[in-house]
């Protein structure tokens, strides 16, 4: 892969890296025919972001896929080292005229070269790891509610919350007003916590199509990261969301850029309070009944092998295998029961979509249940 970025776009790339660095410790680079994709996921897999830069974004863009049948090389690099290249955004704007990114599979190096003023060239040779494809599956079309607002409106809204605040609740209130409120845990004493709430009128948004009374709670940190990017790029931001517990998807769209941020949302405490038995005997095939199914169709890490045809090696063989479809046992509940069995475990917030983990291959569900573990999953969450 080889690409050249010039002028102001270098800073755009830099800002994208800054935004991604709020999510995960590793940066996934994937050159595709539709552009260069930069992705990150957090360690608990409750946040995923992807920035797709179209070929037009670059002065030169070559995927390097010489043989059309061979898969393109994907790699991941340490976020810290990649961020180091773009650390100072003001100096990037002032001094860098051109940026070259070159993937050298033979030498196992990802080369990032900054061509600066006065003939200075800075070359960063980064080590990389070939990796599986990182993909969260989500569909903005399936979301019942969506909102679109200039990034500035939302950025001005979140400044009212303290930097240390973890989660914020967004609610479609009466009269078309949208409110943001700091999320207070049930355990927290109400007499200790300051509650900040903000209302935005409908006409501050470019588009509002929300289910009245709908409400979701999500992490603020990653959202702030995206807002910084969106505000600097002056792009409107669209929020797609559904019922509590289902992921919220933030999107930015531009001619040469497509950004997605997928965040887990906190499940509704009311539905959590239902005794598991009641859930089990429930025969209502209502949409809220089979979370497992929803999950799989919504948010799955398809960690397919980078090598094609690898005799059907399942992507992440350490995961307990589940066949997609009407699952009898709710994976969510299993998880909760297990947690409940551990005495002394502090009660924690239940991000329903924490579990990216169920496995599906893009090809089909025909997987052998016992497979050799090729690489331990780095994540102990499952």
């Amino acid at each position: 892969m080889k690409c050249i970025i010039t002028g102001g776009n270098v800073k755009v790339l830099g800002r994208a890296v800054h935004s991604l660095s709020r999510i995960g410790d590793e940066l996934y680079l994937e050159p595709t025919e539709s552009g260069l994709s930069l992705r990150a996921v957090n360690s608990s897999r409750s946040a995923f972001a992807s920035f797709l830069f179209a070929p037009l974004f670059f002065q030169l863009y070559e995927t390097g896929g010489a043989q059309p049948d061979r898969e393109l090389l994907r790699c991941k690099v340490l976020m810290k080292s990649f961020l180091g290249v773009f650390r100072s955004l003001p100096s990037l704007e002032k001094t860098v005229g051109r940026c070259l990114i070159l993937l050298k599979p033979r030498a196992s190096r990802l080369v990032v070269q900054l061509h600066c003023k006065y003939g200075v060239t800075k070359t960063h040779n980064l080590t990389f790891q070939e990796c599986e494809r990182l993909q969260a599956i989500f569909d903005t079309q399936c979301c019942a509610s969506s909102l679109c607002a200039p990034a500035r409106v939302l950025a001005e809204a979140v400044v009212h919350f303290p930097q240390t605040l973890a989660e914020v609740t967004l609610e479609a209130g009466p009269g078309g007003k949208i409110s943001l409120r700091n999320y207070v845990e049930d355990e927290a004493e109400p007499s200790k916590t300051m509650v900040t709430e903000l209302w935005l009128a409908e006409d501050e948004f470019q588009a509002v199509a929300v289910v009245p009374g709908s409400r979701i709670t999500f992490c603020l940190k990653e959202f702030r990261g995206l807002l910084t990017f969106a505000e600097a790029s002056n792009l409107p931001l669209t929020i797609h969301y559904d019922t509590p517990g289902r992921p919220v998807i933030f999107t930015l769209d531009d001619a040469v850029l497509e950004v997605h941020l997928v965040l887990a949302t906190l499940s509704d405490p009311e539905s959590d309070l239902q005794p598991p038995a009641a859930n089990g005997v429930s025969h209502l095939p209502g949409p809220s009944d089979d979370f497992g199914d929803d999950l799989e169709s919504y948010m799955i890490a398809m960690e397919t092998s980078a090598y094609e045809g690898g005799s059907g090696v399942p992507p992440s063989p350490t995961f307990p295998l589940r066949t997609p479809g009407p699952a009898k046992s709710d994976p969510e509940e299993e998880e909760e029961e297990e947690e409940g069995a551990v005495p002394g475990t502090p009660p924690h917030k239940k991000f329903r979509s924490l579990f990216f983990g169920s496995v599906l291959t893009p090809g089909g569900p025909s997987l052998a249940p016992t497979q050799e573990v090729l690489a331990e999953d780095s994540d102990g969450e499952y």
């Binding site: 009212h160 300051m194 900040t196 709430e197 209302w199 009128a201 501050e204």
Partner: protein, 284 residues
């Protein structure tokens, strides 16, 4: 019990938030006392705080465009609330461009001071942000704990040098020692002194002037009779002093301190319509 107030003027709002910021730097929790014409922020003498106390007084008329309060009873028309000033400071921080700020005492789930900020927006209607700051209502039987501290029978009273200068001196000394000795006489001379095993540092200030307390109640009237050269000194926690100096966002019009030898240092900072008194006890 009712309380409702409103600030519209931007300058008043900024002035008010500066006062709150100063309080927030000095006290983790404090008592807000509301009367018909004044607001008080009080930190009472607690051993846990190192015996430091604070008394800050402002006239509501100089800050608020509307101010209504009703105490528990007509003959005790006051309200005493306990709150975390940092919360109030945070609520006002993002209100710098507000069209109006309303403060109201509410009781929804728990007693709260609701700060409602009306911000300009791009649309026709303005943006409203509310902050519900939890407060504790202090019952009347405890009100006596929050009496205005009396000015101690000091040995020396002296005007302070420019606080910024004093702050930078104290900040440097703080790196060397945990305590600082303040000494002064009635000739307008003051020394800030630290002493450790390795080093002794003293900064001398002179021509500071001594405030004329004389004819107030006769207690201090004997100033002329006293030995002008006699030095009063007190060793205090340097962190407390540094906190006081660092918290000052505007240079007060008048700043002075009263020293009771080996017992207490009493600071008075006057700023037009705000007065702040701060008491730091001497270390043993």
């Amino acid at each position: 019990m009712r309380f409702r107030a409103k600030i519209v003027d931007l300058a008043c709002l900024n002035h008010f938030s500066r006062v709150i910021n100063t309080i927030a730097k000095l006290a983790k929790t404090c008592t807000l006392r509301l009367t018909v014409c004044k607001l008080y922020f009080i930190l009472s003498d607690k051993v846990a705080n190192g015996g430091v106390s604070m008394w800050c007084e402002l006239c509501q008329g100089n800050f608020f465009d509307e101010f209504h309060m009703e105490g528990v009873a007509a003959e005790h028309n006051e309200i005493y609330l306990e709150l975390v000033p940092e919360n109030l400071s945070r609520a006002l921080k993002t209100a710098q461009s507000a069209k109006a700020v309303k403060i109201k005492l509410t009781n929804k789930h728990c007693p709260c001071l609701r700060v409602a900020v009306e911000l300009p927006s791009l649309s026709s209607s303005s943006r409203i942000v509310t902050h519900d700051i939890p407060v504790g209502v202090i019952p009347r039987r405890l009100w006596n704990d929050f009496r205005e501290p009396s000015v101690p029978d000091f040995d020396v009273s002296i005007y302070l040098p420019v606080l910024k200068t004093m702050k930078s001196v104290v900040e440097r000394m703080k790196n060397l020692s945990n305590s600082i000795v303040i000494e002064a006489n009635l000739r307008g001379e003051m020394n800030l002194k630290i002493e450790t095993d390795l080093v002794s540092v003293t900064t001398h200030f002179k021509d500071l002037g001594n405030p004329p307390w004389a004819s107030e109640d006769g207690c201090q009237s004997s100033a002329q009779g006293r030995d002008l050269e006699r030095v009063a000194e007190a060793r205090i926690d340097i962190k407390k002093l540094q906190q006081l100096l660092a918290g000052q966002q505007v240079n007060p019009t008048k700043a002075l301190c009263n020293i009771v030898s080996k017992r207490i240092v009493h600071f008075i900072l006057l700023h037009e319509d705000v007065s702040l008194q701060y008491f730091i006890p001497a270390l043993a």
